[in-house]
C-alpha cells in the first residue's frame, strides 16, 4: 500500500506541476485523466458500506466518484497480473457496477516506453483484460466494460527512468465509456 501511495503521490505531483505552468513532465491525458461529467459528482452516488473510501485521498474507493488514485492500477515490468493491494479498489468498482447495471466503464491499458510499440499495445490490452476479469468475477456484467490499449503512446509521466516507467505501466478506470 505504501508503494501505491508513493506512486499516487508522484502522479498527483506530476499533474499539479502540469497545471502550475510550463512543464516537460506531463502530457495531455485526454479523456483518461478527467472525471467524467456523468459521474458521482452530479448523481451524488457514493460508495456505501466499504468504509475505507475516505481514508485514501478523500475519494470513494469505487464507482465514478472514486478519486484519481483509486481509478489507476499499476503493474510490474512486462507483467499483467494484478497485485493484491488493488483487491479492495477493484472490489469496490465491481460492487458499484453490480449495483448500477446501467453504468459503463472503459479500462485503458498502458505500458512503459521500453521495447517495441505494438508489443506494448499487447501488454496494455492484457493489463486491461486482467482488470476486466477481476471485475467480472466480482459481479460486474461483461457488457458494462470495454477495454482499450494505448500501449506506450499516451504516457502519464514523461521521462526515461524507473519512476516514470512505474507510473506509465497502468490501467485507468474511466466511467462513462
Amino acid at each position: 500500500m505504501t508503494n501505491l501511495k508513493t506512486l499516487a503521490a508522484l502522479l498527483i505531483v506530476t499533474l499539479v506541476t502540469a497545471c502550475a505552468g510550463p512543464s516537460e513532465s506531463t502530457v495531455d491525458e485526454g479523456a483518461a485523466g478527467a472525471v467524467p461529467s456523468s459521474g458521482a459528482a452530479s448523481s451524488g452516488v457514493s460508495e456505501g458500506g466499504i468504509g475505507q473510501g475516505g481514508a485514501i485521498g478523500g475519494g470513494a474507493l469505487g464507482g465514478p466518484g472514486a478519486s484519481q488514485e483509486n481509478r489507476i492500477i499499476y503493474f510490474e515490468f512486462d507483467r499483467f497480473d494484478i497485485k493484491p493491494e488493488y483487491n479492495a479498489i477493484l472490489q469496490a468498482h465491481a460492487r458499484y457496477l453490480s449495483a448500477h447495471p446501467a453504468s459503463r466503464l472503459r479500462l485503458e491499458g498502458h505500458a512503459d516506453e521500453r521495447g517495441s510499440r505494438e508489443y506494448n499495445i499487447g501488454l496494455g490490452e492484457k493489463r486491461a483484460q486482467s482488470v476486466r476479469s477481476v471485475l467480472l468475477l466480482q459481479g460486474a456484467a461483461s457488457d458494462q466494460i470495454v477495454t482499450v490499449s494505448f500501449g506506450e503512446e499516451r504516457p502519464a509521466a514523461i521521462g526515461s527512468d524507473d519512476e516514470a516507467w512505474a507510473l506509465n505501466r497502468r490501467v485507468e478506470i474511466v466511467y462513462g465509456q
Partner: protein, 437 residues
C-alpha cells in the same frame, strides 16, 4: 462509399501539405575509406539564370550520406568542366579524386528539363557512364536523386536508394490556453529527409506505418476514434479507407509481398492478440494463431509463404514463424530475453529485431541460417528497425536526450548517421520499397 466519404469529411487528412521542418542528416561514423569523388557543378543551358536546383550539390550530398563516398569540396576544384572535352584528368589525379562527375541541365521545353551527366574513372581517364535524366520543375529534386542512384549503382554494384522515401510518425506537444496539447503526424519525406509531406495530422496517436509493396499506399494505426483502427491511405491522392475497426486491438498492419493481403494483430472479443490475415479484395479474415499469448508484429517472408511475428508464449517476447495459411509454428530467436518486431531483410536471409542487450533496447540482426544475433545500434531505447530496399542499411528510432530521433546504420555496423528533426518526437520510420514514380 458512405464510410469513405465520412472519413474524407473528417478533415484529418492533409493531402501532401509541405512542411518547413525538414530533416537534416548528419553522418556520425563513416567507413574506413570512403571513395574520393568530385561532383562538378552542372552547366545550365536554358531560360533564366539557373536550373531549378543545384543538381550537383544534391547528388554530392546523396553520395556523401551513403558513407561510401567523400565528395571533393567545390572550392578546392581547380577546374569546373561541364563537357567531356573540357576535362583535364591530370588535375583531378593530382587532387586525389578517383572518380569525376560532370553534367549539364538542358531545358527542351517550358517545364521540361534534361539532366545530362557523365561519370569518369580519373585514374584510367575513361568514361564509365553517360546518361540523360528527364525532369520537370516539380520532380527536379527527385530526378537528381535518380542521377545519384545511377552513379552509386555504377560505382558500387548496388542499387541506390536516394530516390526512395521514408515514412515516420511525429508527436508534438504544445501548450496553449493552459492546456497541453498533443499532435501526432504521419509524415512522408524523401530519403534525404527533404520534401516533407504530412499525410495525417491527428490529436490522437498514430502508429505502425507500413508501405504497400508498390509504394503507393501506407497502412497505419490511428487512435482518432479513441481506440485503435487500421487505415490504408493512398499517397498521391490522400484518399484513405478504414480497413479494420473490430472490437479490441487493431494493430501492426503488414502487407503481403503481392499487396493483396494485410497481416495484422487483433484482440477481438477475447482480449488476446492473435495474428490474422485479411484479404483486401474479398475481405476474408483468416486467423493464424490462438491461445493466451500476445501474438503481434507480423512480417511476411519474401515469398509470402511464412509470417514472422512476436509472441510472449515462452514468457518474454521472442520471434516465431508460422505458415501464412496457418500451422507449423517455429520459434526463431533464442538469444536474450527480448526479441521483438521482426523485419525481413530484402535478401530474406536476416531479420532485424528489437533486442534487449544488457538492459538496453537495441537493433539487432538475426542470421536465419546460422541463428546468430549481432547488435548494430548502441542506444538505450532503440526501436522500429526498417530495411532500406537495397538491404544496405537500416533506419530506426533512437533517443537524443529525451527526444525521439531517427538514425541509420549500415548492416555491417560501420556507417552510422543521425536524422535530427526540428521539433517533436520522431519515431517509427518505415523505408519505402523501390518505387517507379
Amino acid at each position: 462509399m458512405r464510410q469513405l466519404l465520412t472519413v474524407l469529411a473528417a478533415l484529418l487528412v492533409l493531402n501532401a501539405t509541405p512542411l518547413r521542418a525538414e530533416l537534416q542528416i548528419q553522418i556520425t561514423e563513416g567507413v574506413d575509406k570512403a571513395l574520393p569523388i568530385a561532383v562538378v557543378p552542372f552547366g545550365w543551358q536554358g531560360a533564366g539564370a539557373a536550373a531549378p536546383l543545384d543538381a550537383a550539390s544534391v547528388v554530392a550530398a546523396d553520395l556523401a550520406r551513403s558513407g561510401r563516398f567523400e565528395p571533393l569540396d567545390r572550392k578546392d576544384m581547380l577546374q569546373r568542366p561541364t563537357t567531356g572535352a573540357d576535362v583535364d584528368f591530370g588535375d583531378w589525379r593530382t587532387q586525389g579524386s578517383e572518380f569525376l562527375v560532370i553534367g549539364r541541365v538542358l531545358q527542351p521545353g517550358p517545364d521540361q528539363y534534361e539532366i545530362q551527366f557523365q561519370v569518369f574513372d580519373v585514374v584510367r581517364g575513361e568514361q564509365l557512364l553517360g546518361y540523360r535524366q528527364p525532369a520537370t520543375a516539380a520532380d527536379f529534386r527527385r530526378s537528381c536523386h535518380r542521377v545519384a542512384d545511377l552513379i552509386y549503382e555504377k560505382l558500387t554494384g548496388i542499387r541506390g536508394i536516394f530516390s526512395t522515401r521514408i515514412a515516420y510518425v511525429t508527436a508534438v506537444r504544445s501548450q496553449g490556453q493552459g492546456q497541453v496539447k498533443s499532435n501526432y503526424r504521419l509524415v512522408v519525406a524523401d530519403a534525404d529527409g527533404q520534401n516533407v509531406r504530412v499525410m495525417v495530422d491527428s490529436p490522437q496517436p498514430i502508429m505502425s506505418p507500413a508501405w504497400s509493396p508498390d509504394g503507393r499506399q501506407i497502412a497505419y494505426v490511428s487512435f482518432e476514434a479513441n481506440r485503435s483502427e487500421i487505415y490504408v491511405q493512398d499517397l498521391r491522392s490522400g484518399v484513405r479507407k478504414r480497413i479494420s475497426a473490430r472490437p479490441g486491438v487493431n494493430g501492426a498492419p503488414a502487407w503481403s509481398p503481392d499487396g493483396k493481403s494485410l497481416a495484422l494483430s487483433l484482440s477481438r472479443q477475447d482480449g488476446n492478440l492473435d495474428i490474422y490475415t485479411l484479404d483486401l479484395g474479398t475481405q476474408v479474415l483468416t486467423r493464424l494463431t490462438s491461445g493466451s499469448a500476445i501474438d503481434t508484429e507480423p512480417a511476411w517472408s519474401l515469398d509470402g509463404q511464412q509470417i514472422y511475428f512476436t509472441s510472449d508464449a515462452a514468457g518474454g517476447p521472442q520471434v516465431y514463424r508460422i505458415a501464412a495459411d496457418g500451422g507449423n509454428v517455429q520459434r526463431v530467436t533464442f538469444e536474450g530475453s527480448y526479441n521483438a518486431r521482426p523485419r525481413v531483410a530484402p535478401d530474406g536471409k536476416q531479420l532485424a529485431v528489437v533486442h534487449n542487450d544488457r538492459g538496453n533496447y537495441r537493433i539487432a540482426l538475426i542470421d536465419l541460417a546460422r541463428s546468430t544475433t549481432e547488435v548494430l545500434s548502441d542506444g538505450r531505447l532503440d526501436e522500429s528497425p526498417s530495411f532500406a530496399p537495397n538491404g544496405e542499411m537500416l533506419i530506426f528510432a533512437t533517443r537524443e536526450g529525451a527526444r525521439g530521433v531517427l538514425a541509420t546504420v549500415s548492416i555491417n555496423g560501420r556507417i552510422k548517421s543521425r536524422i535530427p528533426e526540428l521539433d517533436g518526437d520522431v519515431r517509427e520510420p518505415a523505408w519505402s520499397p523501390f518505387v517507379a514514380n
